[in-house]
């Protein structure tokens, strides 16, 4: 009962933040509502027993990545978005497509509901130790490859954002 109440409260917060992202005209308002979505997703991860993922969601996503977004919005002094003929066309053709996508995804995800089980609050929780074990054993090679990816991303960001003389 408590779990259901918590789930619906946090899920409502999450969806409200996502809808607000869609409705706001100014990018800084969209960024702040995206932070709300990410914070409530961290709470959902805690409900699912994923403590490590919840913490890195807060630190990496809500902390680092969103700060980067807010910095860029302030740096470029982004104003309210303007609507053109193309945006109205996107609305007319996009709205039915979006409705079709949500219907299809929900259908596919729930069609084999006989194999889906239930989540019990506190029945299973993974600590940082539990996540670290497979990360540094079975997934050691992908983990090392991501370090190269990050290095290339840093170099790419520096080269792209450099001012040309």
């Amino acid at each position: 009962m408590l779990h259901q109440a918590l789930f619906f409260l946090i899920a409502a917060m999450c969806v409200a933040g996502a809808i607000n992202l869609l409705l706001q005209r100014h990018p800084i308002h969209s960024a702040l509502s995206l932070i709300v979505v990410m914070g409530s997703l961290a709470l959902l991860y805690l409900l699912l027993g994923a403590e490590f993922v919840a913490m890195i969601q807060l630190i990496v996503y809500a902390g680092a990545i969103m700060v980067l977004f807010v910095f860029v919005i302030m740096l470029l002094n982004a104003g309210e978005e303007e609507h053109t003929r193309g945006s109205r066309m996107a609305l007319w053709f996009g709205a039915p497509a979006v409705a079709a996508i949500v219907g299809m995804v929900v259908y596919v995800l729930t069609s084999n509901s006989t194999t889906l089980r239930e989540v019990h609050l506190g029945a299973w929780a993974s600590t940082t130790h539990d996540v670290a074990m497979p990360l540094f054993r079975e997934y050691l090679l992908p983990f090392e490859v991501t370090s190269i990816l990050i290095l290339i991303a840093i170099l790419g960001a520096v080269v792209l954002a450099r001012r040309e003389h």
Binding site: A11, V53, V72, V102
Partner: protein, 100 residues
């Protein structure tokens, strides 16, 4: 207790809101943020399935998705800054040439 399907439906709704924002928004930074929203929705599915199977591999994949998202955010925002320097606009309708 809550069925796993509730989490999956929430994930689908968040993903679709991300797609909608991607299609309807005209500001390039907001479009980029909607991609982050879609990645987050997929992460929620991963964590829900990890809980259902009592297997932490799903959490490891969420970790990798976050790493890729961080790299993508760094490169993408650098591209946005480069576009703004040459075009002086963030509206995607006005950015219609590939060359700088």
């Amino acid at each position: 207790m809550v069925p796993v399907s509730y989490y999956l439906v929430l994930s689908a709704v968040l993903f679709t809101l991300g797609v909608a924002a991607f299609l309807f928004k005209r500001n390039i930074i907001t479009i980029f943020m909607s991609i982050e929203l879609m990645l987050n929705a997929v992460n929620l599915s991963f964590v829900a399935f990890a809980n259902m199977h009592k297997d932490v591999s799903g959490h490891v994949f969420v970790f990798f998705v976050m790493v890729v998202a961080a790299a993508e955010a760094a490169v993408g925002l650098a591209i946005i800054i480069a576009i703004y320097r040459t075009r002086e606009t963030l509206n995607v309708d006005r950015v219609n040439l590939l060359k700088l």
